[in-house]
């Protein structure tokens, strides 16, 4: 049967009305069934089928309309006394008491109650009836589906629509959230847009705990991990400012605008220092500035992100995200607007020494960058439509990455408690929980938090159970995760470590092979060099060469199937011979069978 049909038509006939005619039915293809193919199949007997007749249930979560609460106090005074007795007069009250004691029922009831109570007291003194016997046992890991539910929603009480673009948890427990609001859309700012940012108390979603009033909208805000009353904020106009919650709503200190950034200060991160007053900020104008809160008039140090190490501001890459781990105080990483990730060292004497490796990164701005809390050599970066996990040893490529998603990713963070979990937020308002030990091609749990894009996310630090996400409308949602997403299993750390090692080795092998091929192509004269390179690659590869389990499984499968077929054919052949000999006996056997069946019953 031909798949194509060619016909010609005159140009003058184009666009003419189509005239349809009937045609006799024509059989174009007829594929009869092939009974020989049925011999490739073995009929299965018995067939197991599970059926259950249960009423269908569906579970649905609903959030009620929020109601406003206020706290008020009431003052209690003594009461309950009958009208004629003044409670403040001691002899009146004592007279009343004595009168009550002399009543009839008093003695009787007192004695009975007393006996009862004495019994209980003695019992308490002997045995602790509230003892928890199994307190020391570890709870069994129950394999249930992970879930997450919204605990609270904090809506911007002001009418103007601003995106919540950075969240910081209070450093001391999960009681407060600082959220910075800023309308980052290009050239959309109207002059009367509200520029306050808020500190929310997690228990009170109706009203923010504190309004922070900067001079220009805050793009980023961070609580000081050492002094929990201090916050640093990066402003839209490039300045950085310090707030103190004890001193009111306006900024306590503000950097001089001449010495600050020329673009919004997208990220400010506190540094690990003895005084706890140092922080650094990054901005898309290509500079990283180090500040000391005691003197915000000018930065302590400046770094220009020119990867060619020539210190030219025109060539500098704009910085979008910073990564700083307080256990490695001198190194930090910058994610740029151009997609590259630069690893830097603060201790260099000049700019050229400060800039270290440059990783290729993403196809768009790197919105989030974070080292793994347990494996400091690996870090994740979020940008364009993927999340990439890198190892510091591999400079040219990431070791693991997610499938590009339909929506752009805006923020990402590792879970502080479980080594294999990280969270991401997307432009369609979903919060994804990825578990790389469980499923690598799609998120383990994907929750639609809001309908508009989510811009930032922050996991609550010590427990990793609460996640706060900020959306484009200024709504911050607090999501609580189920136990199996927060509590780490026993071997999880080792497994994740193994996975990172494997992937790093794989990347190294690929790189070695690529290099070997390039060498072989270009310089065939230098035979020794290529051989050495290939042997290196071969040794690495041989390490990974375990017996391929898939091939083995396939071979086993076909062996079993062939054996079954042979057995069946043999049986059929035997049955054929017997049938001819026992043709007469079969009818007798059939009659005997129902009779025996009746007797056995």
């Amino acid at each position: 049967m031909d798949i194509q049909h060619v016909y010609t038509k005159k140009r003058s006939e184009f666009g003419r009305q189509v005239i349809f005619t009937d045609r006799a039915v024509e059989s174009i293809a007829d594929i009869p069934p092939n009974p020989d193919l049925s011999r490739e199949y073995i009929s299965r007997n018995p067939v197991e089928l599970a059926i259950q007749n249960v009423r269908e249930f569906s579970e649905h979560w609903v959030n009620t309309v929020r109601f406003e609460t206020e706290n008020r106090g009431i003052n209690h005074v003594e009461g309950g006394w009958p009208k004629d007795i003044n409670p403040l007069e001691p002899d009146q009250t004592s007279r009343f008491r004595k009168k009550t004691e002399k009543e009839d029922g008093f003695t009787r009831s007192m004695l009975s109650l007393g006996n009862l109570v004495e019994h209980t007291i003695k019992q308490n003194n002997i045995v602790d009836i509230y003892e928890n016997y199994f307190q020391n046992l570890e709870p069994d890991v129950v394999e249930e589906a992970p879930y997450a539910k919204t605990v609270n929603i904090y809506r911007d009480p002001h009418k103007t629509r601003r995106a919540a673009n950075h969240i910081s948890w209070y450093a001391d427990g999960a009681r407060k959230l600082a959220v910075s609001y800023c309308n980052l859309e290009f050239q959309s700012g109207t002059n009367d847009s509200f520029i306050d940012s808020y500190i929310w108390d997690t228990e009170n979603p109706t009203k923010p705990d504190l309004h922070l009033k900067p001079i220009s909208p805050l793009v980023c805000i961070e609580f000081n991990p050492k002094d929990t009353h201090q916050l640093v904020g990066g402003c839209y106009n490039g300045q950085v400012c310090i707030f103190d919650t004890r001193k009111g709503s306006t900024a306590v200190e503000q950097s001089l605008i001449e010495n600050s950034h020329r673009d919004p200060a997208y990220k400010t991160v506190w540094l690990q220092s003895k005084s706890g007053t140092e922080f650094f900020s990054a901005s898309t104008d290509g500079k990283i500035l180090w500040w000391d809160t005691k003197k915000l008039s000018e930065p302590v140090e400046t770094l220009i992100l020119d990867i060619e190490k020539k210190g030219r501001l025109e060539n500098a890459l704009g910085a979008m995200s910073l990564e700083y781990e307080s256990t490695i105080p001198t190194k930090f990483m910058v994610g740029t607007e151009q997609g590259r990730i630069i690893s830097c060292n603060r201790k260099g004497k000049n700019d050229a020494e400060k800039i270290g490796n440059v990783f290729p990164g993403h196809w768009g701005p790197v919105y989030a960058l974070q080292r793994h809390p347990n494996f400091l050599k690996n870090f994740l970066s979020v940008g364009d439509w993927t999340v990439r996990i890198w190892s510091e040893e591999m400079r040219d490529d990431c070791i693991m990455w997610t499938k590009p998603s339909v929506h752009a990713l805006t923020d990402g963070q590792w879970s502080p408690t479980r080594s294999s979990i990280f969270f991401t937020t997307k432009m369609d308002g979903t919060l994804d929980v990825w578990d790389i030990l469980f499923k690598q091609n799609e998120p383990t749990l994907s929750i639609q938090v809001v309908d508009e894009p989510l811009h930032c996310l922050r996991v609550e630090e010590p427990h990793g159970r609460l996640v706060a996400c900020g959306s484009q409308n200024g709504t911050v949602t607090l999501v609580e995760l189920s136990d199996n997403l927060c509590v780490q299993g026993k071997s999880e750390k080792a497994l994740v470590n193994g996975m990172f090692d494997r992937e790093t080795r794989r990347a190294k092998i690929l790189e070695a092979r690529g290099r070997a091929r390039r060498d072989a192509r270009g310089k065939s004269a230098h035979g020794e060099k290529t051989e050495k390179a290939t042997t290196d690659g071969a040794t690495l590869e041989s390490e990974l060469k375990e017996a391929d389990p898939i091939e083995k499984a396939e071979k086993d499968f076909w062996k079993i199937v062939d054996e079954e077929k042979r057995k069946r054919d043999r049986k059929a052949a035997l049955a054929g011979e017997k049938a001819a000999a026992e043709a007469g006996e079969t009818t007798q056997a059939e009659e005997a069978a129902p009779a025996t069946a009746e007797t056995t019953e």
């Binding site: 009550t100 004691e101 007192m110 109570v117 209980t120 308490n124």
Partner: protein, 100 residues
């Protein structure tokens, strides 16, 4: 009078038992009749416990109308409050169990 002495004896015995921090006897209006604690604490306990007892009595009654509340024990981290209600009086004992 002997019955009065008996009551006094019993109250003294309870107060002397191991771990007992205080004893309050209140009547159905919540007025403390006998107490071994200071006035403020007594009033506090009397007001809160009398309300709780009313609710607890209702719970037991509604679940099974033949039953009546006999005893109510509130265990907290630091101590246990034992409440024994009757139709007209309620006896409250605060104890720190020595068995711990």
């Amino acid at each position: 009078m002997t019955s009065q002495n008996e009551v006094d004896d019993m109250i003294k015995r309870i107060q002397a038992s191991k771990g007992v921090q205080g004893l309050i006897i209140i009547d159905s209006d919540g007025i403390p009749i006998r107490t071994s604690m200071d006035n403020d604490t007594t009033l506090h306990y009397a007001a809160l416990i009398s309300q709780l007892t009313i609710h607890a009595k209702r719970v037991v009654r509604e679940l099974d109308s033949s039953q009546e509340l006999e005893q109510l024990r509130l265990r907290s981290h630091k101590h246990e409050i034992i409440v024994a209600p009757e139709s007209k009086y309620i006896m409250i004992v605060v104890q720190v169990p020595e068995a711990l």
